[in-house]
Symmetry: C2
Subunit: 132 residues, 2 copies
């Protein structure tokens, strides 16, 4: 419950960020593991991990650990704040979110280890600084 204004501000900050908002929207239809999110959104896996940390801190997400992978999902409606419910209702109509969800379908069609290895390779394949 956001009885405190600071709590509400923290929740708002958590979603005032393109990646974090996309992640939240991506999870609404159902749980995904970290590498599935990274692959779908084409961003470094560490960025996803940090985005998830913030969304968790805000109380929007829960986790389920299965072996080495971590499945993340939006908290049950019962525990969702009015803000969260409103947001989830609103983001679904955004173009970017719809595209992301389509890509997620394709990612879900692959086996998780395959997805994870793709994510690893992308990280190695695009060095920002040239090697000597």
């Amino acid at each position: 419950m956001a009885d405190d204004i600071r709590t509400l501000v923290e929740q708002l900050k958590a979603v005032s960020h393109p990646l974090r908002l996309r992640v939240l929207a991506l999870l609404e239809p159902g749980e995904l593991c970290v590498c599935q999110i990274a692959e779908t959104l084409q961003v470094p896996q560490s960025s996803v991990s940090e985005a998830l940390k913030e969304l968790r801190r805000a109380g929007f997400l829960t986790e389920r650990k299965e072996g080495r992978w971590v499945f993340v999902s939006v908290v049950k409606k019962k525990y969702a704040t009015p803000l969260l419910k409103g947001l989830l209702a609103e983001v679904g109509s955004l173009d970017q979110v719809q595209q992301d969800r389509l890509l997620a379908q394709e990612v879900l069609a692959m086996a998780i280890p395959v997805v994870c290895s793709k994510v690893q390779k992308v990280a190695q394949a695009t060095p920002v600084v040239a090697r000597a």
Copy 2:
């Protein structure tokens, strides 16, 4: 309409800030002029002005100019996004907001020029750096 994810993020950013959120909540019951807000919340007038700029940019506020004062109010429900409506519904129950609204009552009981002059004086009366 927030058809774009960036637009929605900008709107969220606009309210991810204690002062801006308090200002928005303070205006919900009805319009106030800038100095009334500054006096009620006990913050520098320039801070209020900048908070209002952001809230306006986000599309949450409209203005009405009357002589040298500027009265600000929340946009009509008709033009409010779902996010804004949800927020307004939620902030009313926050302690801080209720306190602010009580103070606003007292400020509204005074004539505007009196309130404005108080705001000016507070700025002068509390120098941060000692004079030589």
